[in-house]
Structures are given as structure tokens and as C-alpha cells.
């Protein structure tokens, strides 16, 4: 008997050891701590990487490496002729993750979808205010409360959305992180136990990785979801090692303490490319940085003045100095990776002499203006102060005096919205869903004046085009409308478009199957490590 026990123990030890030896752990040096684990509550990419792209799925997903929405939890959908009803057929047999904190008893069904949307939609829903100050920021920001009339369960595997008006980007919006599908069964259990807050701390979904633990500000641990509907992952464990400093992330990558890192310092990229142990992926980011004039104030209400200023800006110098080449000068308000990008448009040529003359012809002399520089680094603008200084010296050459101003970030965002704002504002945007509407209508539409439209620019011709494109479902037709809108934009010049930054992802050579997302997400579905 004793011998048997020893043998059993030895066998167990051997199994554990071999298991440990063959377990593949992928370590991602993430750039910050997630704010929480309920993607509906937040807007930061860091949080979405940690929760939405690991634990959860959505009805539609973005095809890896593209902004094309493809079937996710919904395997098909139908749109009614009037474009107001979307009926989604759910994939049968989708399993939720089984974790130490919850064991699901049923597969995904329509109740989960209805729950996931209604908690954000209905003010009287028990989960609508389950944590203090619940803003449902994206759901509101994308206009869903004014768009969705109802979300109904038709049968166990069919859900019908009724919209109040036609909205072509709806399918792309449904693929965004805030629209992640939760388990209603898990939520019900938490509600019954009086632990609703746990939904934001211990997430449970249908995604490729199951949540194991979060050690605050240190690491997040996941394991592969064995019954994942799209097949089990090749790696066994996924760890986010939270490393806020980019230089330290690079050292960790070099030392092999992590396999992949986001957001390297621009100055380190050359050395990374030269390192034989590393691979560096590059892609134009889905972003734009701009200088928005206040088009309602003289003399910036004159197109010629704006054009002249645009011609005076040496964008290449900004790209070289601020990004050390890790960006491209922008000519359009949408990035080149986005569909409907109008490449036929010619940028205003950098020509200080012509700019000076154009200003004189417009009757403007001795102009002095303010240029607002953001106080923080964002992916589209790493150092706005430096960019502002370059613009200051460019404008000086055509006789325009610039005073650079800045405010604390929240203050900056708030004050720059004001319709009577004094000066031109440096700001930018990172796309949410790959739809041009998310740039052109959101940032330049008449509705957005006094809000996201920092140029306070309401041009009837432009607005008509983008509103029409928003309510047209045919993509070819939409492309035409957006291309035309970009022509109007260029002619009217409400902004000086500055740059589209490159998104650079360094990783160790042994990493396989990582696909860079144009949306800037870091998703590890499908990654592997070479032996």
C-alpha cells in the first residue's frame, strides 16, 4: 500500500513537472494598469486590452489586422429594408469560461446579449448604476441611447435590435469593446450574492482567455479558455506584466522577461530593429493630429488665411523632430489605412513665400495668434509643445507672431471646446471602429460644434455629405461621399492636418502569429511561441 502511494505521488509529481515544463506562458509588458475589467465603464485602450480582447467577445469582431467587422458571437445578421432592424443569429454552443469563482451551467444565449446592452441603455436597469459614477462613456459617446429603440430576444439564439434612425456604422460600433457580451447567469449570481462590484473586478466571458487573477499594478494572469468557440489557444497562460516606463519595458524585452511590448520610445526604435533577438512591426496608426483654427473668429473665418497658414507649416520637420521619423505628414483628416481615404488629394505645398503673399492678398498683416499645445503625450502627438514651437518659428517666417499656451489636460479639453475660443488648438484623434464617420462626422460635423469639432466649423456642403454617408448602407456609395467630403475639407482648410503616427510593436523573435491591429489594440488571440 505504502509503495503504491509513493508511486502515485511520484507519478503526480512527474505529471505536474512535465505540465509545468511544457506550459507555454506568453508575457506581455503592458503600459499601465487597467482601470477595471468591465469594458463598458471605460474608454482607455489599456483597459480594453486587459478585459475586452482577452476575456470577452462581441456580436461582431474586427477581422485581425483590419477594421472589417466579421461574425463573432453572431454568426449571421439581417438588416431590414428600411435599415432600422438588425436581427442577429447567435452562434450555437458558445461556452462561457469556467473559473475558480464561477461555473456556468449554460451556453451563451440571447438573454446575455439583451443584458449586455440593456444595462447600458436603460436608466432603470438594476445594473445601470452598479458602481458609483457609472458613465457608460462609450455607449453614450457613440450615441447609442438616442439610436437604439429596443433590444429584444426573439428566441434563444436570435436577438433583434430596433434603431430610431438609419445608422450605417452600427455594425462596426457593435464590434467595439464597450459592446462586449457578458454572462447574465454570472451577473444574476453576483446580484443575488450582493457582490455586483465583482463584475468589474473578476470578469467572465466567452473570449479566448479566462481571467485568473489581478495583482494590482503588478500583473494580470489569464489562462487559455479550453472550450473557446474559435478553438483553444496555442499558449497556455497569458500574463500582462504592468511596466509603465517605456525604457524599462525595452530592457525587459531585451532580457527576455517579456515577449512583446507596446509603445516604445521613438528614440529606441532604431536599436530595436538592429537587435537580432527582436522583430519590430510597424503600421500607420488609425489616428491624426491637427491644428484646429477657430473658423468663427476673424481673420480665421477666411479660407485664404487658413490656407496661407497651412502652407507655412513644415510638417516634415514636425515628423522628424517630434517622432524621429515614426510618423507621416498628414494631408487628409483620416489616416491612409482607412477605407475611403482620398489619395488623389494634393497637400498644401510647404511654401513660406507664397503663404506670406497669400496673407498679404487677404489683407492680413501684423497678425498675432495663440497656438494651444496639449500638456500630455498622446499616440498621435508625442510632444505638442515641441510641435507648437516649430509652428511658432514657421509662422514667424511669414510675419505671424505666435504665443504658445497650455492648460492642464482636462482643462485643455474643456476650454478648447468653447465656441469663442481664442487661438488654434493642437489636438488629435484615435479611431474607435475604423469607420470614416468616426472621424469626419464626429470631429467635423455641424452637430459637434462646441464639442469635438474644435474648429467650430459648420460647412453645409461637407455636413450634407457626411450625414448622407452615415445613413447609406452601400459601402461603395459611402466611399464616394467620404472622398468628396475630403475634397471639401481640403478646400476649406478648417484644420492644418499635421501627422499620422506609426504604431510600432517590438517583440521577441520567437513570437509567432501576432497580428498588429490598425485600431491600436493588443489582442493575443492566436499567438504562439516558437520552441
Amino acid at each position: 500500500m505504502k509503495r503504491k502511494l509513493i508511486f502515485a505521488a511520484a507519478l503526480m509529481a512527474a505529471t505536474v513537472l512535465s505540465g509545468a515544463a511544457s506550459a507555454k506562458t506568453f508575457v506581455y509588458c503592458s503600459e499601465g494598469s487597467p482601470e477595471g475589467f468591465d469594458p463598458g465603464l471605460y474608454t482607455a485602450g489599456t483597459t480594453f486590452d486587459a478585459a475586452a480582447h482577452t476575456v470577452y467577445n462581441r456580436l461582431l469582431e474586427f477581422k485581425p489586422g483590419t477594421t472589417e467587422a466579421i461574425p463573432g458571437l453572431a454568426e449571421s445578421w439581417e438588416i431590414s429594408d428600411d435599415g432600422l432592424q438588425y436581427t442577429f443569429k447567435l452562434r450555437p454552443g458558445v461556452k462561457f469560461q469556467t473559473t475558480e469563482f464561477f461555473t456556468p451551467t449554460r451556453d451563451l444565449n440571447a438573454d446575455d446579449v439583451v443584458f449586455s446592452y440593456e444595462r447600458q441603455l436603460k436608466a432603470d436597469h438594476p445594473w445601470n448604476k452598479y458602481v458609483p459614477g457609472t458613465a457608460w462613456e462609450y455607449f453614450n459617446g457613440m450615441g447609442f441611447p438616442d439610436l437604439i429603440a429596443s433590444v429584444e430576444k426573439v428566441d434563444d439564439l436570435t436577438v433583434k435590435f430596433t434603431l430610431k434612425q438609419k445608422e450605417a456604422p452600427f455594425l462596426a460600433n457593435v464590434a467595439m469593446p464597450f459592446a462586449s457580451i457578458m454572462s447574465k447567469e454570472y451577473a444574476d449570481k453576483l446580484e443575488a450574492d450582493g457582490k455586483m462590484n465583482q463584475l468589474n473586478q473578476m470578469p467572465l466571458g466567452t473570449g479566448p482567455f479566462a481571467f485568473v487573477a489581478y495583482q494590482q499594478d503588478a500583473a494580470i494572469r489569464y489562462k487559455a479558455h479550453p472550450d473557446y468557440w474559435n478553438g483553444k489557444q496555442k499558449i497556455d497562460d497569458l500574463v500582462f506584466a504592468i511596466t509603465t516606463d517605456a525604457a524599462v519595458r525595452y530592457q525587459k524585452l531585451k532580457a527576455g522577461e517579456c515577449h512583446l511590448m507596446p509603445y516604445p520610445n521613438a528614440a529606441d526604435v532604431e536599436a530595436m530593429k538592429a537587435d537580432p533577438a527582436l522583430t519590430v512591426m510597424e503600421q500607420e496608426g488609425l489616428n491624426v493630429a491637427y491644428l484646429a483654427y477657430n473658423t468663427t473668429q476673424a481673420p480665421f473665418d477666411k479660407v485664404e488665411v487658413r490656407k496661407a497658414l497651412n502652407m507655412a507649416i513644415n510638417k516634415q520637420a514636425i515628423v522628424d523632430s517630434v517622432f524621429q521619423g515614426q510618423a507621416t505628414p498628414a494631408k487628409n483628416p483620416i489616416p491612409p489605412t482607412m477605407w475611403s481615404y482620398n489619395d488623389a488629394i494634393e497637400d498644401d505645398k510647404y511654401d513660406p513665400e507664397a503663404a506670406k503673399k497669400m496673407l498679404e492678398d487677404a489683407g492680413v498683416s501684423g497678425l498675432s495668434m495663440k497656438v494651444w499645445a496639449m500638456p500630455v503625450a498622446r499616440p498621435y502627438m508625442l510632444n505638442a509643445r515641441r510641435a507648437a514651437e516649430l509652428i511658432q518659428s514657421d509662422f514667424d517666417k511669414i510675419g505671424v507672431k505666435v504665443e504658445i499656451v497650455s492648460y492642464e489636460w482636462a482643462e485643455y479639453l474643456d476650454r478648447s471646446k468653447a465656441k469663442d475660443r481664442d487661438g488654434a488648438v493642437i489636438l488629435g484623434w484615435t479611431g474607435d471602429n475604423g469607420d470614416p464617420d468616426n472621424f469626419l462626422h464626429t470631429l467635423l460635423g455641424c452637430d459637434a460644434v462646441g464639442g469635438n469639432n474644435r474648429a467650430q466649423w459648420c460647412n453645409e456642403e461637407f455636413d450634407k455629405l457626411v450625414v448622407q454617408a452615415k445613413t447609406t448602407s452601400d459601402q461603395a456609395e459611402r466611399t464616394k461621399l467620404y472622398e468628396e467630403a475630403q475634397v471639401v475639407f481640403k478646400r476649406e482648410a478648417p484644420w492644418a492636418t499635421l501627422d499620422h503616427s506609426l504604431s510600432v510593436v517590438p517583440m521577441r523573435k520567437e513570437v509567432q502569429g501576432f497580428v498588429q491591429s490598425p485600431l491600436g489594440d493588443f489582442a493575443f488571440d492566436g499567438v504562439d511561441l516558437a520552441e
Binding site: 458613465a135 468589474n200 494572469r221 506584466a241 532580457a255 484623434w429 464639442g451
Partner: protein
């Protein structure tokens, strides 16, 4: 003694209330509004902004908000983070052991190296040794922590590969937190190599955090020693033929220690301030990094509670220092 202690505790109460008012009002004096920051570049509608401000209670009169917060503190409720939606006290208790562990290691290193260095420099006053120790101390004192930390990482972790780059323990080890102190938890876990890993992760951050206190303690010890060495009783002790070890170790050092202990006590504040940068460089999950993140996010409850608790710790340490005087110098009996 008891009367002294009660007296000091009585002083702590108004100090504590003063700190609570400062913590509460200063963060509100900073421009920037936590509700607007929730949405980033995306613009929140004014109605929604007003609604969330109301839900969080920030539209109430400032005095009411303060009293509410003070009542919360007195009843042990430090509020809930606006960002993570978690109880602040819970987060503090999770993160504080990491800061404490690092600070204790740093202060031990600073004291163990700083005092002998100071004594040695005093004894060899004016020599090459004295000048090089004091010169090094001056450099250490003036070193920008961020740069120093990165330099050590590049040298020891990058080029020499002797130490890990950052974190508290290798990610291969995972065990539940019992005490929150990684050195102890790694021993309790029984996992082979865990303790060694935790220890190796502590080396660089400890050096970085210890640098400034070490320099200050060495300089303070040296000047206190020099002063004492010139006293009559030291000359007397030497004259009566006591061995140099006893003269310095017992007669001189004990008297020189009083200002040094004050300095060490004051270093607690320096350590907590230094921890903010050190933790950021070494991805050390402590309260320093947590507080910095919260300032950027204008997470009022976290900043208020964090400042209050840090101030409380410093007050308690100062109290302990006051009590220690009595033990070291029998002439100061309270």
C-alpha cells in the same frame, strides 16, 4: 512618560484634522475635473456631466462634502475610487506592504552603510577617505532618482544580466498574498527559488531608494561625530586609557546619535517621496505609483485618503523618534 505620550497624542488630533483639510482642499484647487477626465478626448454632454457629478456628490456644498469625507474617515470608510470603483482603503492595504517592504530595506541599507561611513569619515577627517566618502555622498544626494534607476537597470540588468529588470518577483511564481511582504510570502509559499527571486528583484530598487537617505545619514553622522569628538568627556575617556573602540562606540557614538536619529526619522518622508519615482521605474506595485496615477486622473477619494494615510504614518514615525530620544539619552526624560 505616559503624560508625555498622551500630550503628543493630543497634538496629533488637530494636526490630523489640519492635514485632512489640506488634503481635501488642495486637490480641489488643482484645475481639472475628474468627471470630464472619465471620457478623455471624447466630449461628454453637459447633461451627462451634471448627472455623474451629482451621482458622485460633487455638486454639494464643499463644506458638506468635507464633513461627509471626515465622517467617513472617522468611521473607517475612506470612500471609493472614481476610476477603479473599488474601496480606497482596500486598495491602500493591498499596495502599502509593497512600499513598506521596499522602504524598510532601503532604510536598513542606508543606516547600516551610512552610519559607519559617517563615523569613518569623521575619524579620518580631512584625509582622502573623508573627502571621497563625502564627495560620493554629495553625488548620491544630488542624483536624479529616475536617471539613476535607469542607469542601474541598463548596467546590471541589461548589460551584465545580474538582476531582473523590474517587478517584485519572477512571473513564473504565483501564490496568494498572505502578509503582502514578498520576501515573507515567497518563503511561506514553499516554492523553490521564489525567495531568491523576490530578493533579487529587491536589490536595484533598494539601492535607488536608499541612495539619498544614505547620503544624508552619512553626512549627518560625520558632522555629529566631529562635534562630539571635540568634547571634553571624549578627551577624558581617551586620557583614562579606554580602548578606541569603547571611546567611539560608547561615549562618542551614543551622544552623536541624537541628531542622527532625528535625521533617520525625517528620512521616512523622503523615502515615501522617493518611493513614488522608484516604484514607477521598477514597476513596483506600491502606493507611490498609485498616488501619481490618481493625481493624473483627479481621483479625489484616492488622493485624499492616500495623503491622509501617508501623513498619519509620518506623524507616527515622528512620535516614535521622540520616544527613542529618551532611550538613547537618559537626560531627555519626558
Amino acid at each position: 512618560m505616559l503624560r508625555f505620550l498622551l500630550g503628543r497624542l493630543a497634538v496629533l488630533i488637530p494636526t490630523f484634522i489640519g492635514v485632512s483639510i489640506i488634503a481635501f482642499s488642495f486637490i480641489r484647487l488643482l484645475p481639472g475635473d475628474p468627471v470630464a477626465l472619465l471620457s478623455g478626448e471624447r466630449v461628454m454632454s453637459p447633461e451627462r456631466h451634471a448627472q455623474i457629478t451629482h451621482e458622485l456628490g460633487y455638486d454639494r456644498p464643499i463644506v458638506i462634502q468635507y464633513l461627509d469625507y471626515l465622517w467617513g474617515v472617522l468611521t473607517g470608510d475612506m470612500g471609493t475610487s472614481i476610476v477603479t470603483k473599488q474601496p480606497v482603503l482596500e486598495q491602500f492595504l493591498t499596495l502599502f506592504p509593497a512600499t513598506l517592504e521596499l522602504s524598510i530595506c532601503a532604510i536598513i541599507v542606508a543606516v547600516v552603510l551610512g552610519i559607519p561611513a559617517g563615523i569613518f569619515a569623521a575619524l579620518k577627517r580631512g584625509t582622502f577617505f573623508d573627502q571621497s566618502i563625502m564627495g560620493t555622498a554629495l553625488v548620491g544626494y544630488s542624483m536624479p532618482i529616475f536617471w539613476w534607476g535607469l542607469l542601474l537597470i541598463i548596467l546590471f540588468s541589461g548589460i551584465l544580466q545580474w538582476t531582473p529588470v523590474s517587478g517584485r518577483i519572477s512571473l513564473l511564481y504565483y501564490f496568494p498574498s498572505v502578509t503582502g511582504f514578498m520576501l515573507i510570502d515567497s518563503l511561506l509559499s514553499g516554492q523553490e527559488g521564489a525567495f531568491k527571486s523576490a530578493l533579487s528583484h529587491l536589490i536595484l530598487p533598494t539601492i535607488v531608494l536608499a541612495t539619498i537617505p544614505l547620503a544624508v545619514i552619512a553626512r549627518q553622522t560625520r558632522s555629529a561625530m566631529l562635534e562630539v569628538l571635540g568634547e571634553d568627556y571624549v578627551r577624558t575617556a581617551r586620557a583614562k586609557g579606554l580602548p578606541p573602540f569603547r571611546v567611539i562606540g560608547v561615549h562618542a557614538l551614543r551622544n552623536a546619535m541624537i541628531p542622527v536619529i532625528t535625521t533617520i526619522g525625517l528620512q521616512v518622508g523622503v523615502l515615501l517621496a522617493g518611493a513614488i519615482l522608484t516604484e514607477t521605474i521598477f514597476s513596483w506595485p506600491g502606493i507611490g505609483k498609485w498616488m501619481v496615477d490618481s493625481v493624473f486622473r483627479r481621483d479625489y477619494p484616492v488622493i485624499q485618503a492616500g495623503l491622509l494615510m501617508i501623513a498619519g504614518i509620518i506623524m507616527i514615525v515622528n512620535l516614535i523618534v521622540d520616544l527613542l530620544y529618551g532611550l538613547i539619552n537618559p537626560r531627555i526624560r519626558h
